[in-house]
Amino acid sequence: MRNFWSNSILIRTTFILAISAGLVGALFIDLAASVIADRFHHQAYSRLGELIDTVERTVSIACYLPDKPLAGEVVQGLMKNREIASIAIFDAKKEQLAGLSRPIEHVDTDMHGLPEIRRPVISPFDPDSVVGEIVLIPDHMEITRRIAQNVDDVKGLLGIELAVLSLVVISMIVLMVIRPIRRISDDLHAMNAPAGDKLTPPRGHANDEIGQVVENVNALVDDLVCALREEQTLRLYREAGEKKYLAIFDNAEAGICLLETDGRITSHNPAFARMTGLCLAPDPLENSPSLKKLHCRYPAKIEAALSTCLQTDITVTEDIELLDSGSDSLWLHLILTPIGQGLVQGIISDITELTLAKQAAEDASKAKSAFLASMSHELRTPLNAIIGFAQLLEMDKLTPLFDEQKIAVGHIMTSGRHLLNLINEILDLARIESGNLNIHLENIELAPLIEEAVSLSLPSATTRQINIRQLCSNEIAVRADLQRLRQILLNLLSNAIKYNRQGGSVTLFCDWVSDYVRITVVDTGLGIPDERRPEMFQPFHRLGAERTSIEGTGIGLVVCQRLIKAMGGRIGFDSTTGVGSRFWIELPPAAGTREIATAVSVAASKNNSTKSQVFSNRVVYIEDNLTNINVMKHVFRLLPDIELLTAKNAESGLEMIFETQPGLVLMDINLPGMTGLEAIRRLKTHPDTASIPVIAVSAAAMLGDVELGLKSGVTSYLTKPFDVPDLIAQVRKALNKTATSEIGLI
């Protein structure tokens, strides 16, 4: 019933119509009945009043006379009216002239009788005198009956009207709503939307609500079909994409896997299984393999990488070493990428060959460095003897040389120095190329450094009568490595002097170029032809200078270029043939707040060799090489006031030092047995010997060696072959200092 009810508009409409028609009918009838009754009563009274009016004159006469028969006639006449229940006519003395009553049929229903009509009767001749009264009681029963009849009539008419209206409404609903909707519903069932079918509105409903519904349905169908097509296209794309991905996944060289957050592998490709040996169990109930179960050297690394990846939500890479494939371990590069929903994609690639190659390369590089270090040592040791003895020969005042011999010794010294330079520069270049270049960037004030470089270059400039002008202001500071910058400046200056013409000039100035400090060195040399520009920064290219008498290795500019690059600067030049060249370097300016390291001027002090006379005159020299000892002994012949003691190894040397308490120790570093560094450490830790200055004299000229030596507490570090005047100066300085401090103590 319920179903039936809710399924049919017709039934619902009929029901509601019936109920509302009934209610409205009942209400209306009720209202109508009361109105009709009211009206009818009113009308009945006025009718009765009019009736009395018509007989008034006669009654008046009857009462006037008084005439009972006439009154009786009137009463009888009036009683013909069925609405009158009883009537009586009284004369002036209240005596009844005539009266009639209808027999009462049912008294009990007439509980409240209708009010009677009393009308005084006026005399026919005197309007002021009352001659009687007429009393009329309306017949309530009759009136009620008539009212009921009227109401029944209205009721019947209304019922018929409502019924006809309801029928019309129902048939309209059937014709104009239900039938078209059924038709649309059937059409909808039969419609093939993807094929482009459309609903047509039922005839005559194109523009009404049903037509709108049809339009809306059509629009909806269009949208749905569009969406469906898009969906299909997307699905095709997605399927193609998935196929592509699967093809990549299955055939990739790299191993690809999907991981849960706890490292369990949910899927992987064949390459992954091949590399790791892990395999997904066909039965999903079994424990799936975990990435953490890989047998590698540092399993914690995988876990750390995975947790980092999950926490930071970014791609994490890690190299791991698998141990389980026989004797050789397998190196894998692991890339973990979070892909959302608690999943991580892992990609591993085999980098075993790469890692091995890298290791081999590193080994080779180490070997090269070691080779260079030892070569440097091996080459420098004989050079020390060559240059040292040549200097001694030249300086020997006891047996002065002949002029020809002097020239020969000069050649030996020049060639030796050239060779030393060459070795140094080759070493530098090798060091730079092996990446072992150590750059310590600091803020450097330019002016003192340039002063120093200029003063160091002055002697060679003076010999060629070249004028050096320095135009650097004080305030400019750059960020660079002090030693390296000095080296570059010296190199540029020496080039500017070497390739200048006799009596030419060299100008040095600094300025700002955009964000960089540019140091420019201008010479008045031959200039560089444009076609040779590309060769400028190639090693061992000297642009034809190799056929001239000008000394050079063809490495200097290359070293400069590499160093400048390493410090974050630039180098360049421009040149006009026959007028000169302009070389410039650009460096980043000093970072504002940092303390500016002033380049400690170590400009060669040439005039302090004879001034200080008070010094402890005993020096211990520890050296295993006999040639070197001989060189040193010859040097100390030039210092007759100083006693030189020598020891052949560190152990005996230390004994000697404790016994003799010398004013200075000269220490070779590469010694048999205890090394020089160890000996220095012992000296510096012992209270008796801690104050004795130590000068390291070593052929180990690699930067690392020098640093080590300086760290161990030596006063200065001389590399073999040493410069004899320099050695003498340092010895005197050290002894002088010791003496001064001793005097102070006394």
Partner: protein, 146 residues
């Protein structure tokens, strides 16, 4: 000429008004006890309600024929009704038979004779006709008519 016509018309008008304004009087035999009766009593007698003198003696009203002017004048002066009303009044009473309209005499002269000859009648005449044989028991001056 016109003056003569105008004065003639004036005289005619005087004469007519004089006759129209003529007073009617109720007359009875001088032998009756009352000298006068009230208007009320006169109406009662003429309209059939109580045909007695206040003394109790019978009093039969006499009426004139409707063709003269006196009857209409009389009822107008007495009850202020037209003759048609009076006819309708009596027509209603015909059926009951309880009362009857006054007896009609042929002329004023006859009326005068009857009243002079009988003691239980009452009549009305123009004042000008009244003589010693009848008694005027009520005057109906035309100016007093309502």
């Amino acid at each position: 000429m016109s003056k003569i016509l105008f004065s003639l018309l004036f005289l005619l008008m005087i004469a007519w008004t004089g006759s129209a304004q003529a007073d009617l009087v109720l007359i009875a035999n001088p032998a009756i006890a009352e000298n006068t009766i009230s208007r009320e009593e006169a109406i009662n007698i003429y309209m059939g309600r109580l045909r007695r003198f206040p003394s109790g003696a019978s009093a039969q009203p006499l009426d004139l024929p409707a063709n003269g002017t006196e009857k209409a004048l009389f009822y107008r002066l007495l009850v202020n009704k037209e003759l048609s009303d009076i006819d309708a009044y009596w027509a209603r009473l015909v059926f009951s038979g309880r009362a009857s309209p006054p007896h009609t005499v042929g002329s004023l002269q006859e009326m005068l004779e009857r009243v002079a000859g009988e003691t239980n009648v009452i009549g009305y005449v123009d004042r000008a006709f009244v003589d010693k044989r009848v008694r005027v028991i009520m005057e109906l001056p035309s100016t007093g008519a309502r």
